[in-house]
Amino acid sequence: MKTGGKLILVIGSCLFFFMLASLLMMSQTLQNPELFDRYYSALLIFNAIGLISLVGLILINIKRLIRQLRNHVIGSRMTVRMVMIFSLLSVTPVLIVYSFSLDFLHRGIDSWFDLRVEQALDDSLELSRLALDVRMRELLNTTVKVAKELNETTDAELPFDIDQIRERINANELTLLTKKGGIIASSSNDIKNLVPEIPGETILLQLAQSNSYIGLDVIKDTNLLIRAVANLPSTNINRKDRIVQALYPISERINQLAESVQSSYIEYQELSYLREQLKVSFIIILTLVLLFSVFSAVWAAFYSARQLAAPVKNLAEGTRAIAEGDYSTRLPIPSNDELGFLVASFNDMTDKISQARDTAKQSQHEAESQRTYLETVLSRLSSGVMVFNKEGNLEKSNISAAQILQLDIDMLEHKNIMSLAQDYPNLNDFFECISLNIEERLDDWREQITLTDKTGNQILIINGATLTEPDGTTSGHVIVFDEITALIQGQRDAAWSEMARHLAHEIKNPLTPIQLAAERLRHKYLAKMEPADADMLDRMTNTIIQQVETMKDMVNSFSDYARSPEYNPEEIKIERLIQEGLDLFTNIDNGNIIETEIEPNLPTIIGDEKKLRQVFNNLLTNAIDANIAGDDNSLKISAKKVKIDENEMLEIRVMDSGSGIESSVINNLFEPYMTTKKKGTGLGLAIVKKIIDEHMGTVWLENNKEQKGACAVIRLPVNISNNTIRKRT
């Protein structure tokens, strides 16, 4: 519990006990009139302040609860519900008791008053008055007689006579006064009291209107006295402004009875008058008790509800924390009951989940490390790797696979192998090979396939293995493949080079003696022979010499192919080389219509000018040869800049109008000794490919689409440095 909450609890508890004590004191004072008179107001005010404080505490609680509700604090709705239930359960019986108590209170107080008692008291008061009236009338008559008697008495006799008269009539005091209240003579039986009682102004006023006054009076703390006042008769002119007052005692018994009747009457009248106020007072006290009970119950309901809701709130918050991944939550165990057991179980559960989470995290971390390791290895592998699941969907592949297959591998992920075969027709053989082997459920297999596209053949060697689960079931297939085109090409080139070198060496050596021998034969015997024989010898030796010369050229060609001349890179303007080649063939004038389409401002390239010139010569020779074989003699050379995979390249096309190339040989024409011409070494295109490869370019042959004939396409990279080409070479 927070400090503020504890403070409010302490204040509330103190307030509760103080108010309880105060109400108990009020209950005590109700039974003691003196205490009631003394402490009633103070207790009332104290209790009112206490109640206001209690209301304040409740309002603070309500405000806090509303704030919690608005903020959607966990447990607030439960607290509201419990507060309402507790309050209802506690307030309802209190209200019932209160309503019945009010009823009893009204009935109880009303039962104090009875019409008969009231009438009896009125009657007894009236009876007392009547009883005293008889006596008073007698005494008034006596006083009137005394007045007449004093009227006859001279002033000199007055002091003596008044005393005698007082004793005779048994009065306590007899006084002769003027009508304005001036004392003329007086006699009293109380020697201590020398000052006679003077009638009040109202009595004097009454005497002015009538001759006498009689009444009961309480004079100077004495008992009831009968005051009788009478005017002196007006017969004596000198005495007509005089009055006589006699104060007669009432017997002790009558006095007691009269006082008793009067006090009882007063008490009853007072009680009767205060009846409603008494009710209100009791109701106020009862209401204070009610409000105290109700407010205490409501406040206690708040406290209890919060205490009960606290573990549930903690549990809810703990659950939310776990849902959010925080397993470090430890809840305080509230008590040793079922709720405490629940919280303890929750803590145990949290611990176990936390441990499991840690283990899982560790395993995940290890798996992640393994995966990263594997990916690193895979990405560094030059071999392409693909993993298919048991449904044949591509699960994983590496960069090399993408590079070998020239695909964007991200687009292949999760695609089925059959759909891949359909989507990529050029890779159809590749995927079909894999699919077949997977379908045959071969655990370990190896295949070599050749993919063909316009730039040439691509030879792949594919290895496959089945991935198995620990229980022996198949979970997928891993495919590892390598492109061995370059390797095979290299091997083939090496073999050809070796053969060419060997051939050149073995053939070239005997050719010179043959040529020399033929020339010697010609020289020695031509002049000596008959013209007919000489003619024949001449033709024969010429044939030998020409063929030997041809064979020498052929051997030289082989020799050139076999050896790699030194590469001399320099900056070349390709259009100049093209133009030089065209000029050479234009001079020969074989009837070709040559069309050029060279893009202006072509970028320069780095390359060996001699070698590239040979490339163009070979290609132009082939094109012219193809035109000769065909009907049309048009030849078109174009050069332009193209962008291939973000790389700028120069594309040179040499297009003839011959009969075209059969598709069966179109990809093999760059191999040595592959030719479709009747004459030719079969090395021209092989040399072209070798030189273009040295320049990191590509070359391929294709048949024209819109017109007949074939087209040799060369692509050479722009902006490539000398070092790169040299390294490649």
Binding site: D37, L102, L125, G215, K220, E270
Partner: protein, 197 residues
Amino acid sequence: MLALKKNNLMYILLNTLKRISLLFLLSCICNLTYAKSINIISTYAYTENATYYLDTQFNFELTEEADKALRHGIGLEIHTNFQLRLKRGWLWDKTIIEKKIIYKLEHKPLTNNFLAINLNSGLRNSYSNLDAALNYISTVSKMKLFDQNILQKDNHYLARIKIFLDTESLPPPLRPQAYFSPKWDMSSEWFEWEVIQ
């Protein structure tokens, strides 16, 4: 029968709550509009033999409710308060002397007289009518206030007097009503005058 009893209980409950709640509100409203009939008629302060005396006549009337209570046997205590106060510039005035004349007014049903008892002296005077009794109570004659020598030079003094019904002397059940109801508000304003040395 049960319904009748329930209705009766509810009626009492509602009536009581209504009374309690309205008591305060009504008293507050009425307090604003009630015109006081208690005031001072004359005051005469004088010195004799270096002693200050006071003659005062108040006009003191009972309200209808107080009159009714008196005739039902409730004794009323009427106080006449005198204060001599020292004026202070930086603080509230300090009461130096305070004197009270307390009368208890009672009605005697047997004789139908009104008894005014001076609680200071114990002197009892009976009057056949209420006006005479109130006139007696509200008349202050030669009230000895203080000796002149207690006044210091350079100080300013203020004397004041008022008459009022002491509601604390009423029976406890009557007090809550008397605290708030104008029917029981019988008090004059303070009548003040500066004491000249």
